[in-house]
Every structure is written in structure tokens, then in C-alpha cells.
């Protein structure tokens, strides 16, 4: 690939000469980056309770269904959501806690299921890594309990279980919490949507059309 090596050198050479008056020396680059102005809001001012209320309000604006429960009532809350969905076949990531796999439903555990099989499943149940109240965003890092990206994509119905301690108020707070960048991230803000036809918002183009969230309150958290 000689041509490619040559092109690379040529482009980098053009960049170097275009920026030679303004580019920082390698030893000063980190300092220049650190000196960039960041006077925007980092931390929210809300109490824990009103932060959670804001998240719920935002999620509902996206037509997501949100229910709250205590840790002890989680399994029965999951069962109630699944039953109300009218669906029977659910996919779950391999690392989903066993007690979340409530009985009475057909569970497909994802140990690398082919896409065609996931396509036939009616819904998916996962955990999450974080939620951002300000924008109603759920963040998936696709860990063992959140599953591979495909399982939260093909099924039409997604139940996401979120702990109150995972909720932050602002987007910068999320980045503070995960200073070590994950390899895979999906930020989900409501169900898939489009406004491509006359700016009319339509829910559910691809991806799950129905997003349900169970917010698990932890009584030991601050009030």
C-alpha cells in the first residue's frame, strides 16, 4: 500500500504547513487543551428527589412509560410490566440478574444469538449504566447486564431497569462519572423517532417503538 502511505504523508504535511504558525508543540498541547474555557454548568442544583422527578417527566415527554418501585418490589414490578405488555418472548443479556428473569415468560438468553432469532423476539429487558435527567437520556455501555447492541435494537419493546443511584442531573455529570471512556456507548433519548415528513414527529421508525423504564428507589439514598 505504497500509494496510501504517500497520501497519508502528503495530507499530514499539508496540515503541518497549514497550521505551523498556530499548532502547539507536543509538550504544550495538553496545557493548551486544559486552558480551553469551560464555564458552562457542570453540576445540577436539584435535590435528589427533584432530579428523579425531572427524569421521569422527560422520559414521559418522550412517550416512555415509567414506573417506580423499591428494591424489594423489583421482581414483581418486572412481572407486572411484562404481563401488561401482552408479549411472551423476551431476550435478556447473559449477565442480567437471575431474579429479574421472572417466571411465566419465554426467556431467550443472549449468548450470541443470531440476528434473525432476535428479530423474532417480542421484547427485551436490560439494565443501564446511567441516566441523565436534564435530557431524559438513558446510557447503555453494553456491559453484561445491558447486553450486546443488537438486543436493544431489533425487539419492538424495551424494558430498562434503572437504579436511582445511576441518575445524574446534567450531561457533564455523566462524563465526570465515567472518566474512563467505555468502548461502546448508546445514548437513548426516548424511542426512535423521525420528523422527516413535514416535521411531524413520528415515534418508531427503526429500533424499539416502546420504551418502558422501572426506576428502582433505594431507601438508603439521601432524601
Amino acid at each position: 500500500m505504497n500509494a496510501s502511505v504517500e497520501t497519508r504523508a502528503r495530507i499530514l504535511g499539508r496540515i503541518r504547513s497549514a497550521t505551523e504558525r498556530v499548532a502547539k508543540a507536543p509538550t504544550q498541547l495538553a496545557d493548551a487543551y486544559a486552558a480551553l474555557p469551560r464555564t458552562y454548568v457542570r453540576r445540577g442544583q436539584k435535590s435528589n428527589e427533584s432530579k428523579l422527578e425531572l427524569l421521569i417527566e422527560r422520559l414521559r415527554e418522550y412517550d416512555a412509560e415509567v414506573v417506580e418501585c423499591l428494591e424489594a418490589g423489583l421482581a414483581s414490578s418486572i412481572a407486572a410490566q411484562l404481563a401488561a405488555s401482552g408479549k411472551l418472548v423476551f431476550v435478556a443479556p447473559a449477565g442480567l440478574p437471575k431474579e429479574w428473569l421472572v417466571s411465566g415468560f419465554d426467556w431467550k438468553i443472549d449468548h450470541g444469538l443470531p440476528a434473525a432469532e432476535i428479530e423474532l423476539v417480542e421484547g427485551v429487558v436490560t439494565g443501564a449504566s446511567c441516566a441523565i435527567a436534564d435530557s431524559g437520556t438513558i446510557v447503555l455501555h453494553h456491559s453484561e447486564s445491558e447486553g450486546r447492541r443488537v438486543i436493544t435494537l431489533l425487539p419492538d419493546w424495551h424494558l430498562c431497569i434503572l437504579r436511582a443511584s445511576q441518575v445524574v442531573e446534567t450531561l457533564p455529570e455523566y462524563f465526570d462519572r465515567f472518566s474512563k471512556p467505555p468502548a461502546l456507548v448508546t445514548w437513548v433519548s426516548g424511542p426512535s423517532a423521525t420528523a422527516d415528513i413535514e416535521m411531524t414527529r413520528i415515534k418508531g421508525v427503526h429500533g424499539p417503538r416502546f420504551l418502558h423504564v422501572i426506576l428502582v428507589r433505594d431507601e438508603t439514598q439521601d432524601a
Binding site: T7, Y33, L36, E119, R149, F175, P181, A195, M199, H206
Partner: protein, 481 residues
Amino acid sequence: MSTAILDPKIAPPFREAVLPVLRNPMLRKNVAHATQVIQNKRAKLVAEKTDWQELRSAASAIRMHVLENLGAYLEQFEERCTAAGGVVHWAADADEARAIILNLLRQENATEAIKIKTMTSAEIQLNPYLEAAGITVHETDLAEIILQLGKEEPSHIVVPALHINRSQVREIFSRTMGLKDLSDDPKELTGAARHYLREKFLRVPTAISGANFLIAETGSVAVVESEGNGRMCLTLPETIVTVVGIEKVLPRFQDLEVMLQVLARSATGERMNPYTSLWTGVTPGDGPQRFHVVLLDNERTSILARPKERQTLKCIRCAACMNHCPVYRQTGGHAYGSCYPGPIGAILTPQLMRMHHAESLPFASSLCGACVEVCPVKIDIPAVLLDLRADAVNIERKQAKRAFDLMYIGLRVANTVFARPWIFHTAQWFGRIGLSAFTGKDGWIKWLPGLGSRWTENRDLRGLPKQTFHEWWAARAKETR
């Protein structure tokens, strides 16, 4: 339906290209409606953000810092992306980028590819090239599928089919998908597209994408979208090829805390777009196992070399400038003769063409400054427009016989007249008499002969008032004395 030409090399000059649009009331209505809806949504969500100006300052500073240190950050991106299992390619121009992508698809024995909406691929005119090479390209964004099936051209960079209304979409879908009973309800139309594309997502093993951001620190790529077609293309295929301009890099993962906040609000008037995906090279067991990035120069380094024009490359393609532009809102996107319309297109396209083509675009502006006010990365578009106008005039002046062009003679005469009050007043007097013949009862001039037609062929001109300011002032002084 459309006869729009979006290749700057062959597109007619702006003032000719706008004529069919200005005479098409349906198109103008569609464009005005869409831009008004986005304007209102954006205004509401920007107003609720108490730190909006601070976010803009940070976004602008980060983007400028990247451009000034582009070499270092690109090399870092390349190193980290490669370490994570990605393959990085460099393309000096559109030809090279297309050849690299075709070669990669041939290595996969691909006869089809699914595609996420990418303006960069439109810039290099990838689709017709691949089709000519025997590869069927399936656009998967709803707007792009409307355009592809309707053989239409995009007229906006975020909502590319905003010039097409629901009954036109119904006509396109029912004809090309064979759905006779389709109604024009956007929900039903969207459902038809979902069904049509699902089979392709599950079957086609090769995908092409663009990228909103590259992260130097990690070698990751981020794609911002609404519909989930992006997630489908990034997750289901075996191979993904991402084509991206070299300017799209950000230093760190954390910089997304600024960019994601300003981008969705500016682009679609949402607090956050429904889906943003970030991936890093190849993840075993999850998503495509072969990943290629094509880093495209295509004259970006020439823009980078000019201090005033450099800021053009800060753009994050939110389209707020076009939604707020009084010119774009009248003309829509096609008149710009490029996949990048509106104010950003008016500065980007001629520079991508090194001013050899699209040199009329810097003049397609009233310099009102609405674009710079809404730009989330604070690109001073009017300043760049003015600089490019000077370039265009300088090039034109160098061409033979231009010294005898009526326009230049006229401007030289104007120079003399405007510098001497008594000549100016005399000229005003003659002008008023001369123009009165062309002024309608409503006080507007709709047609002028000769050189004057250059103005009136695209817009009306206010007739001169019966009294000048000087005359009014003098009369007023007499009265109050």
C-alpha cells in the same frame, strides 16, 4: 420531479438556479413551513438553557483548538483506532476516497451496501460511482430513502427531504414500493419505510456511514441520529466503512459533553437526539468485525491554511444557519448547486472547489448575520463570505476584458459620484425621474432593463421616495425655525 443539479462543477450560478424555485409556490411553502417549525423548537430549547452562551464558547474553542492542532490529533486518532482493531485510510480527494471505498467493498465481495445518511458521501458523489461499479446502495434514513426512491436531490443537511410534502411522499412510496392503498398519513408512510428497510438491515452484510465526531483520545467514532437506522447499520452488518472529513476529530471523549448539548438543540430543537452511538474499533461478539475509516482531505487542508477561512471547518453540520437564513428560507437548498446549501454551503462549497466553481455562492447572502448568531460553534459566516467575495471579484478582474465590463465601469462611476455631494444630489434627481417610469403604484420596481435586470430578475426593488432624507431634513428645519 426535480431537475436540481447538486454538482458544483456543472450547477448553474445561484442567481439562475433560484428562478425555478422562486416560481414554485408549493416548494416555497414546504421549505418555509419546515424551517419555521425547527426555528420555533430550537428557540424554545435554547431559551431554557441558562448556560447556552458558555456552551457555545466552549464548543467554538474546542473546535478551533482541534483545527490548530489537527495533525497531532489525527495521528493520535489513527494510532488508537488501529490499536482497537480499526483500519485507517487516507484520501486526498474525492477520487481517492471513492476508489478506496469501492476497493473495500470488492474485498468483501459486496454487491449491495446499506448506508447511513452522510453528507461527506454526497460531497464525494459516492452513490452514483458505486452504482456504476455494479454495487446497489440502499439509503436507510427516511428522508434519504424518499429522495433515493423519488430520484430527488437533498435540499437540507439535517432534514434533506424538507422540500417534499406528505402527498408527494405518498406518491413516491406507493409507486416504488407497490403499495396502492397507502395514505398520506406520515405515520403510515413511516411504517412503510420501516417494513421496506427491515429486510435490508437483516440481509445486507456491508454498511457505509459517515461520522459526527472522531475521538482522538480513544480512537472512537460517534454517530448522532434519530431514527435508529444508524444503529441498524452500525450493529447488524459484518463490515462497516466510515467516510469522514479530517476536521471531525475531537480531543477527548469528554468533549462530547459540550458537542452533544449544542448539536441536538441547534439541529432539530431537541434536548437530545433519540440515538447517539459510539464505537471503538472492533468489539468481539458485538457488531461489525471489520471496520474501516476513510479520512478525507478534499481541499480541507487548503481551507485550514487560510487564517480567516479556517473557522469554516469548525462546523458540526447542525444546519441552524440555513433554518435561520432569509435567503435559504426563500430558495430552499437546490439553488446552491451543492449537497451543502445555506450559509455554511455558501462558504464551504466554493472553498472545496478552490473558487473554480460555485463562486456565485458567497453573493447569495444579505449579510444579515442571523447565521452567526445561531451557530453553535460561532463561525463568523458573514466575515468569510466577504473575504470570499473579494476572492471571487479578484479572480473575475484578472480575466481578460473584464476592465470593460459594464458592471465594473458602473462601479467606478459610482465611486466618483458617491465621493462628491453635488454630483450625488444631481444623480439622485435624475435617478428619481428615470426610475419613476418603472415604479408601480405600490411603490415597488418589478422590472428594469439592461444591467438593472440583474437585480430585478430575482427580487423587487423599492422605488426611490418622493423626498430624500436631505430634503426632508431641510424642510423640517425650516418648519421648526
